[in-house]
Symmetry: C2
């Protein structure tokens, strides 16, 4: 393992900036042809990709990596084919670049148009799964951006092989190969260099665990889009259909625990606690979920562990849930305001006024009314693709598709207009 | 002059966050009534505002402040009336909050709407002119945001009086007074506290000189919208109407030199340099402008000073301009790519293909075709109001009106949908 010299990362970023300038004016036909070339090349060169991946997997096994992580790291011919199919799917999505968002002719005859343009150079910092390497490259190319990929050290050989295939393919298709680059080096230093490449990199998108995201947000001078941390709540209102509430709760918590849109806390209105808690405890136990509850939940079930502030704050990503009874909707909102990560919050209610109040007062990227938190997802929302889920308020909030990978430019046309 | 204790600024931010939560669900009628109450109160209490302002002005004179700065600081009954009228004008603008940006019903029956919501707490860091205090407060209230105002120490008494009037007025109108607060303290420390109030403040907008903006961008952990630095270019193409080019150039440079949308560099295609340079030198000299030119410009006029890299980089904000002759459009674009601050770039040409190429390849918030750079302005663009001009690519680019002071929220409604 080598440590990247400072200049390596910056040189990479400089080449990306030059490639972005070349890429931006390319029409969508050229970009789409490059994407199809990538899909073809992935299929044609699956063998060398699998060889590189096998080296990563062997190294991970030698390092005593757990089976779940090994599985995320492992590529097969089938998985490479799926990655290629995903790239081909991106071709079918509408091109965001060039879309006219606003336009008018002013009283003085000046014509103003606000058009979508690529962001420029997008840096993605991510972990484990090598499929993200190709996904991110495809979405950035489709939206006219150059991309700097900084994947996990454990997937370095796989990522090197994949990026090699992608670069060859886009070069053949007439795009600058440097529009897609792996950030050199496997050490943490290369991430630091990337975070300081202001003026060369237009945005950094960290995808991964909460600690990675926090580090990037705090230390980066490059603008950041914060993604993914999800401490999501399900609030069961006084006027909830309790059958529906049970269904939504179990789905939100237990259908897939390792994802950011799974529920981590359930709040129940006191008026229905007596009826709901026993049923919820039974259903959650049936799904293998451990409940960390307040006094009311503890009183309702022997297996309930006592909840502390750490539980209210936790993004478990496991078969655990925090649980509280609240006196009213306002208290539910107050709890969510205090502990939410601003990802997704859900209310189950038949009361229109309660739903309106919850939607208006809860501050999150997505608010669900009588639906599982698990629906906050680019594919579920019909975006066709997703580069991540933003939990910040600037630029993009919620699932980010292709339009969120663009900026805008005002084009003003006159015939010699002066002020 | 007192130095603010750390906790003062954070307490202010905490109160702002609570006020923002109260403010967000208020309908536009309530917010508009509060704005009208502010306008009335400014008119009714002009006397005490002028008394406070007189103290600032006296202190500034004692400190030997220059007349231009004294003028920017000084309020008169007429100026207060103009500020009140501006507030009343904000009432007439469309409310961005609640606008549905996208909406659809998915195949499974889930209804998705993306709606505009306030950002929450907006921090504005600005200099000198006390009218910004009221303008910024009005725009933030109109868009449903709480605002933390951190003006110049030199206007502290004026700002304290103005914010007092605003707070009383909105309190009477039923909004939380803490939706508008002055950041306590006049020292630089209070700016630092504000920049570290991540989680309490949703966005910081620095308005002022390049060094203030650079400091905030580099040191803030709160998300920042970078505003205002303008190293704007006028490119006179081979196929320019030279009369038009002369008119646009002189207007862009000399109509108002202290603003970010004034031109700082002129680039001339070599094919028209012989015809254009003598006329440009004469017109610029007539407007009192000093030219800092390359060899070709120096050869064309005795008064031309030699340009260095510092000139290409300079935002003069004075009666100075950097000037170069370029061999072709590509060289003009390359020069702009290297030195531009990404604010506004202009081309003067009769050639449609050249205009298209310039627009596609220049990376700036606004690109002017046959129009002065001076048009990049919220009022000129018809936005009715402007909180600043963003030179960054995330969230907002170019003049920022009310919609740019909002975020979005997805509201998803089902009838018990699970995945």
């Amino acid at each position: 393992m080598t440590t990247s010299a400072s200049s390596d990362v910056l040189d990479t970023a400089r080449r990306a900036k030059a490639a972005a300038a070349e890429l931006a004016p390319q029409p969508s036909g050229v970009r789409d042809a490059a994407l199809l070339a990538i899909a073809d090349a992935l299929r044609a060169r699956t063998g060398e990709i699998l060889t590189a991946n096998a080296a990563d997997v062997a190294r991970a096994r030698d390092n005593g990596t757990g089976e779940a992580m090994i599985d995320r790291l492992t590529l097969t011919a089938e998985r490479v084919a799926a990655i290629a199919a995903d790239v081909a799917h991106v071709v079918t999505l509408p091109d965001p670049v060039g879309e006219v968002l606003r336009g008018s002719t002013l009283a003085n005859g000046l014509e103003i148009r606000q058009i979508r343009v690529p962001l420029g150079v997008v840096g993605i910092i991510y972990e484990a799964r090598p499929n993200v390497t190709v996904d991110a490259a495809a979405l950035c190319l489709k939206s006219g951006n150059a991309v700097l990929l900084r994947g996990s050290g454990s997937a370095y050989a796989s990522n090197t092989a994949l990026v090699g295939v992608v670069r060859d393919a886009i070069g053949t298709a007439g795009l600058p190969a440097d529009a897609v680059q792996l950030v050199p080096g496997e050490s943490r230093d290369s991430v630091k260099e990337l975070m300081r490449a202001r003026g060369l990199v237009d945005v950094l998108i960290p995808r991964g665990g909460a600690s990675l995201i926090r580090t990037v947000v705090e230390e980066s001078t490059v603008p950041v889009i914060e993604t993914g941390t999800g401490n999501c709540h399900v609030y069961v209102d006084e006027h909830a259909d309790l059958d529906m509430a049970l269904r939504v709760l179990v789905n939100a918590k237990a259908s897939r625990v390792s994802v950011c849109n799974s529920a981590e806390t359930v709040l129940v209105h006191a008026a229905v606690a007596g009826a709901f808690l026993p049923r919820a405890l039974s259903a959650l136990a049936g799904a293998g979920v451990t409940v960390h509850g307040d006094a009311a939940w503890q009183a309702a079930g022997d297996a309930v562990l006592p909840a502390t502030d750490e539980d209210w704050a936790a993004e478990y990503l496991s078969l655990d849930i925090a649980a509280a009874v609240v006196p009213d909707l306002d208290a539910a909102v107050a709890h969510i305001r205090r502990w939410s990560s601003g990802h997704t919050e859900a209310i189950v209610t038949r009361d229109q006024a309660a739903a309106r109040r919850f939607v208006a007062q809860v501050d999150a990227a997505a608010v669900m009314v009588n639906a599982s938190t698990r629906f906050t997802d680019g594919a579920e929302f019909g975006f066709g693709a997703e580069i991540g889920i933003s939990t910040q308020k600037l630029h993009a909030r919620g699932p980010m598709g292709l339009p969120e990978l663009t900026s805008t430019k005002y084009v003003v046309t006159g015939d010699g207009h002066i002020r």
